[in-house]
């Protein structure tokens, strides 16, 4: 249907107030339940993702506290071994699959379209679908925990423990399908982000001018696209072994248990960078703003991101040093594991140089950056240590490893994330978070974290194994464990204060205005929170720090329609405008498709035939999704 039903309205035909009104009408999400279920606005979905992930963070934190309570003294009888197994599995799976990856992607969903000057993410309906799937997977895992049927085989679900012989009941099946839910959703978001960054950048935003955070999300998205199929293949083969009697991991019939470890860590190691690279992007966004100068070595930083992304695929075997692989292979993976310190070092020194050469203003986001630098460097150093086979053989499966990865994951990703939330909260909500409370949060979290996790290095060197629900008094681990557990209360108080500040600032935070930090990137060129169309006119970019080049005026383009959802498609490298493309309206179909997918995946745990009959409603909802609706967005 190429004939428009009503007269098209161009943005040049309206005055500025009329245009803003018309655009917010066109792009609006109606209030109420129907609006909530049908929205495809990347800001609303991104916000939802962040809030959901933070709730999972809090829940996972409660599990961590339970474990610390249990380990606070020797022979503690608070939690029995079965529940303890469920708790540490749930903690790890929840933090990796329901918190860390989704929250990083969520920040990308919200920020990338704003930072590159477009009106919505590419494939917004897929974005809505991905959120509902993520929510369904998270609910499934936590409801199974409430029913005492949560996975109990560790977050990496090694066979044969998770296989049909030893993993009785449905616990491992729930783990495997939780993977399917979260990975489908993560993969969908990765595809959206790649296409958004490739094709929807504001005119003039050449490759050199893409904000470093956006580069980080781009590299991360490619890591997701190349690594996550491995865990989907792995969890699918696992569930097939369990449900229909295949033998992928059964040595008696030609299968192999190490195959699982290869598949899992081929995903699992890039996973670390999927979490860490967005965090480095956040650091690269925060530092220039608070030291009032562009990043030193911007190109080097971007190349380091890409190098880390490539190297990430050559490291996985260092998780398997004690399984008895050929020595030559182990040496290769030691070298590649150590070499990742090079791009990481390049990034650290670029940030230090930027801090050194600038005039740092010590606001809360920058304090989190400092906390990150200290903590992450310690975690990086122990990383270089465990890359060595003899050392790793000694500390494998001990608390040393637990200390190491909490230093790189909390220090390397959660601290930057908290800084980023303080930094972008005013953009999300229009209000600033509290500077005073924020300083308390940084201090409590930094001190609490180091006192909780540093002793674990020593405990690990003393031989305390991971995943034990208790230990005897004679081992001499009591005092360090008690220190760690007591400090965990400080750490938890820091997080509690952080959540309190978030809630308090929603209502009572100081009004922020467009650009409270006087930052340089495009998300600060629009209102806080941004209008439903993001930008009334698409900005035109002439440099890497657009808002610093001309703080008074912004150059824009006009000629887009105001009566249909229209955004600008630009060329891949030069970002020359090539087409006006429409963006879908709000629709219920992604929600229905997600329900159909959920029914199919959960039912398949109980009968493989669900994959057959479950495909029928799924196909029906997908056809409803794609069938043209005859709206102005359909015109060509």
């Amino acid at each position: 249907m190429s004939a428009p039903r009503s007269q098209p309205v161009n943005d040049t035909q309206l005055d500025s107030a009329g245009l803003a009104r018309r655009l917010s009408q066109t792009w609006a999400t109606p209030k109420g339940l129907w609006g909530a279920l049908t929205t495809v606005d990347h800001k609303i979905i991104g916000r939802r993702y962040v809030v959901t992930a933070l709730i999972f963070l809090a829940l996972g934190g409660v599990l961590a506290l339970l474990m610390r309570w249990q380990l606070a003294r020797a022979n503690n009888g608070l939690i029995g071994p079965d529940l303890y197994d469920q708790i540490f599995t749930q903690h790890g799976s929840n933090m990796m699959f329901l918190f860390a990856v989704p929250v990083m992607e969520a920040m990308g969903i919200y920020l990338v379209p704003l930072m590159i000057g477009t009106r919505n993410i590419a494939f917004p309906r897929l974005n809505a679908y991905s959120y509902w799937l993520y929510l369904a997977g998270g609910l499934m895992l936590w409801i199974s925990f409430a029913l005492d049927m949560a996975p109990d085989v560790g977050w990496f679900a090694y066979v044969p423990l998770s296989g049909p012989q030893f993993g009785a009941g449905k616990r491992s099946d729930i783990w495997a399908q939780m993977i399917t839910f979260t990975e489908v959703s993560a993969l969908a978001v990765a595809v959206e982000l790649v296409v958004t960054i490739f094709k929807q950048r504001a005119p003039g935003m050449t490759l050199q001018r893409i904000p470093v955070f956006v580069w980080a999300m781009l590299v991360t998205s490619f890591l997701i696209i190349l690594a996550m199929p491995a865990i989907m293949v792995a969890s699918t083969s696992l569930i097939l072994d369990r449900l229909v009697g295949t033998h992928f991991f059964n040595p008696a019939e030609g299968g192999d248990v190490l195959l699982w470890q290869h598949l899992f860590w081929f995903f699992g190691h890039p996973e670390v960078y999927i979490i860490f690279l967005p965090a480095t992007g956040m650091i690269s966004a925060i530092i220039p703003t608070f030291v009032r100068r562009p990043l030193v070595g911007r190109l080097g930083l971007v190349l380091a991101l890409i190098a880390t992304g490539v190297l990430a695929f050559g490291l996985w075997v260092h998780h398997m040093f004690v399984v008895g692989l050929p020595r030559l292979g182990e040496s290769f993976f030691t070298v590649s594991s150590m070499s990742i310190a090079i791009p990481a070092g390049v990034q650290i020194f670029c940030w230090l140089a930027t801090l050194w050469d600038g005039k740092p203003v010590m606001r809360v986001p920058l304090l989190f950056v400092i906390a990150f630098l200290v903590t992450f460097v310690i975690g990086g150093l122990t990383g270089v240590m465990v890359a060595s086979v003899p050392f790793d053989t000694q500390v494998h499966d001990t608390y040393f490893v637990v200390a190491h990865f909490h230093y790189v994951l909390i220090g390397g990703a959660v601290f930057p994330l908290m800084g980023a939330l303080y930094y972008w909260f005013p953009k999300f909500t229009g209000r600033l978070m509290s500077e005073r409370l924020g300083r308390w949060v940084v201090s409590l979290v930094f001190v609490g974290f180091n006192l909780t996790f540093f002793p674990m290095h020593i405990l690990g060197l003393e031989g305390m194994p991971r995943r034990v629900y208790t230990y005897s008094e004679q081992m001499g681990w009591q005092s360090l464990n008690l220190l760690s557990s007591s400090a965990a209360i400080v750490l938890a108080a820091g997080f509690a204060l952080f959540f309190i500040d978030l809630l308090r600032s929603l209502r009572r935070g100081e009004p922020a205005g467009e650009n409270p930090w006087n930052a340089a990137t495009l998300e600060w060129a629009t209102a806080s929170p941004p209008p439903s169309c993001n930008f009334v006119h698409i900005p035109v970019v002439t440099g890497a720090e657009p808002l610093w080049e001309n703080p008074e005026t912004i150059e824009v383009a006009e000629g887009l329609r105001a009566d249909r959802r229209e955004l600008l498609v630009t060329s891949l490298t030069e970002a020359r405008p090539v087409a006006r493309e429409s963006s879908p309206r709000n629709t219920i179909w992604p929600f229905l498709a997600a329900i159909a997918t959920t029914v199919m995946l959960i039912a398949s745990i109980f009968t493989p035939w669900a994959m057959v009959w479950g495909a029928v409603p799924l196909a029906a909802t997908l056809i409803g999704w794609f069938w043209p609706k005859g709206t102005p967005e359909d015109e060509s």
């Binding site: 097939l240 299968g255 006119h537 383009a557 006006r580």
Partner: protein
Amino acid sequence: MKERVVMQLDALPMHGRGSDSPTMWGTLAFMLLEGSAFALCIGIYLYLLVLAPQWPIGALPPRWPAGTVMTVLLLASLVPNYLVGRWSRENDLARVRLGMVIMSVLGIAPLIVRVFEFRSLNVWWDTNAYGSILWLLLGLHSMHIATDVADTLVLGVMMFTRHGSNSRRMGDVEDNVLYWNFVVLTWLPIYFCIYWIPRL
């Protein structure tokens, strides 16, 4: 912040085709993603093969006729597929309609041959790990054929409705053509693994 207009966009086309189309880039990204999954499954096949004292494990190699018919059929379908792509770029609705009917038939036919293929593997999925990976490879590829056939059928029907004359639909057809090429090309290494490696 004050705005200064420096660029006019109203002369641009109202949607992008070819490399200007976000959907095409999305299709490419999904091909990369699913290609990784295929590569990993082939990796599993080779991994199990290296471990096994003999290959195939406890079975005769698959009987080759069905798989070879499949290969010929899929390769032959590339010709009309290419033509449909060209017609859609030329916005030739009548020919695209014809092409979509042909491609629907050429999509369903391999699914029928696939049934015979499963039956000529000489092994069940639960016989041993060799059988498991054969069924996984074939199953994964069948899912891709089925998905594309469903897409082709729906799009084919759409081309006969009032929505067909929209140039947007021609873009959809182009993406469908692109994806079918992917489905055919991924079959070749799988065909080699299943039918030829056990005979090498």
